[in-house]
Amino acid sequence: MRYPFPVGDADFIQGDEAIARAAILAGCRFYAGYPITPASEIFEAMSLYMPLVDGVSIQMEDEIGSIAAVIGASWAGAKAMTATSGPGFSLMMENLGYAIMTETPLVLVNVQRSGPSTGQPTLAAQGDLMQAIWGTHGDHSLIVLTPATVQEAFDMTIRAFNLAEKYRTPVILLTDAEVGHMRERVYAPHPDELELVYRKLPANEEEAKYPFGDIHGDLVPPMPIFGKGYRTYVTGLTHDERGRPKTVDAEIHERLVKRIVGKIENNKKDIIDYETYGLEDADIAIVSFGIVARSAMRAVKELRKEGINAGLLKLNVLWPFDFELIEKIAENVERIYVAEMNLGQLYHMVKEGANGKAKVELISRIGGEVHTPGEIVERIKRDLR
């Protein structure tokens, strides 16, 4: 297999470009999108590469159509992805719910910009966190990953495909304009060095009869993709194990939705990922994610230089959320600061996790500029005085 970019080598590229390359190395062969700042570079890279690797990259009429096409491609057997930013992300909420309900593996990248509405198209924000987790209607669960560096954007794109295929679910890669546009060194392994996951297919005709049944006891049904003679029927209506619409049966609805939520929640241990720095002896913990975690990291180093025992929890996965981890941290520190580029979203989750065992404070910044480390340091020192 020939690749239209360096593999097994390092390159100096933008976060958006890294996401496109990683997707192709993860086996993505279908991309549908609609132009939007600051995610267009992903689409443009896909447009350049896909025809060369016998994949498809197509510009749809809007973001609703983009995610719809991605879901169709996934049922036709392809690993598929789309990318967007706030306004397009809002349009995708409808079919994101369809993907969750129909248990369709796909990767949806949101390169966040400031909102609401068209907001600040070129500037970074983290204001779509709650929307990523809860934006589509109805009870549900899904997976949200968040990178802080270009290498992480690359690695997490591959992980996003692996998790999507493993759990038959949409996975959101929640990044931002800063990570999307910055250039850093990225090592792209040769696909032979990568551990890639492919969706479970039915082992036999009997298994194929239950595209939505927990037939393996792991809550993840094999996926009888189209064109293989399974005659699968897929609907966004509440359906039984065979996929037949059952729209007024409370028991069937509860069983289906609880399984869809359960396959994520019960596998928290496998999905959740985070890094810590200096938390072992910390009196003060900073919880952060994405680009802001890099400012927080430097702030922790500077605080420690000044004799303040600060520590960092950098979240790489935003959902499922490790409330227990936050509680454990809260038991050992005096205060938890949540630094994020919004008016307080992760803050509420951390507060719930802390369960009253430590005071939780928000260090918020909006308007497009990332917190400087100094800003975080000053705020914490001010509170300590």
Partner: protein
């Protein structure tokens, strides 16, 4: 044309456990479904290489009743989903079973762009002039002056002519019939299924419960008689002045051509890309 007994078609293609359907007495969707299945049967198409796609509405329930792969999606979006299915696996034949509200209102933009791209798909469009499932609201196809629950004094908007729209947007094959024209209908579907690119067969289809009841057309036979009154064959319509065509619906074959389809264009595009990048001669 020899027509097999209906039960043979039913037993061969329908999922028995899904019956009965949700369709009301006098509804035309069953007839359109039968024509589609007869066309598939006549052509001897492989059931396992066809995917049925739909959006939301009465006619969109059809993929659930037929024993094929099927994707029952969100309102109006069927053709966007179909784009992904077809492009990811061009060996599959895609049939989109759509209603008029689904296709022309909420899905209008997906419709015209799927046609513009000449997506390889056969659209079977059931036009009952109303939103049947939600109880008879007016649709973008409702003839001016006729009633629905959201225009109880008679629609004050101009309706879309979906077949003409499809021709203008570049479809390879477009035909319109009423469910009464069953032989023409089956033949049109057969033609459509054999072509590459975008093909659309529209049927005027009775909805006595949600539409007819409000417009003094309480039964299917009344609606069919009304269709006979308002439809004009395309050959005849050509020579009619616009005044005489006012309030009429033209039926027949609107276009039959062979512009390159999306799948064909994309194959050529891939070769062009490889050539430009020096990957291939």
């Amino acid at each position: 044309m020899y027509l097999k007994p209906s039960y043979e078609i039913r037993d061969k293609y329908l999922r028995k456990d899904m019956l009965p359907t949700i369709f009301c007495p006098g509804c035309g969707i069953g007839a359109v479904l039968q024509y589609t299945l007869r066309a598939i049967d006549d052509l001897g198409l492989n059931q396992d290489e066809i995917v049925w796609v739909s959006g939301i509405g009465c006619s969109s329930r059809v993929p659930g009743y037929v024993n094929f792969d099927g994707l029952h999606t969100t309102h109006g979006r069927a053709l966007a989903f179909a784009t992904g299915i077809k492009m990811a696996n061009p060996d599959l034949k895609v049939i989109a079973f759509m209603g008029d509200g689904d296709a022309a209102a909420i899905g209008g933009n997906h419709l015209i762009h799927a046609i513009r791209r000449n997506l390889d798909v056969t659209v079977i469009l059931v036009n009952n002039f109303t939103y049947g499932m939600t109880g008879g609201q007016v649709a973008p196809t409702t003839p001016k002056g006729l009633r629905g629950t959201t225009a109880p004094y008679g629609s004050f908007e101009n309706p879309f002519d979906i077949a003409e729209l499809a021709v203008a947007a570049g479809a390879n094959y477009v035909a319109r019939w009423s469910v009464f024209n069953y032989l023409q209908g089956i033949n049109s579907i057969k033609k459509a299924l054999q072509k590459r690119g975008f093909t659309l067969v529209e049927f005027l289809s009775p909805c006595p419960i949600s539409f007819g009841r409000r417009n003094k057309l309480k039964t299917a036979p009344e609606l069919i008689k009304w269709y006979q009154k308002i439809t004009v064959p395309i050959s005849k319509a050509k020579d009619m002045p616009p005044e005489e065509l006012e309030g009429k619906v033209v039926i027949g074959e609107f276009v039959d051509r062979d512009r390159p389809s999306l799948v064909e264009e994309y194959e050529a595009y891939k070769r062009r890309a490889k050539k430009i990048m020096g990957w291939e001669e």
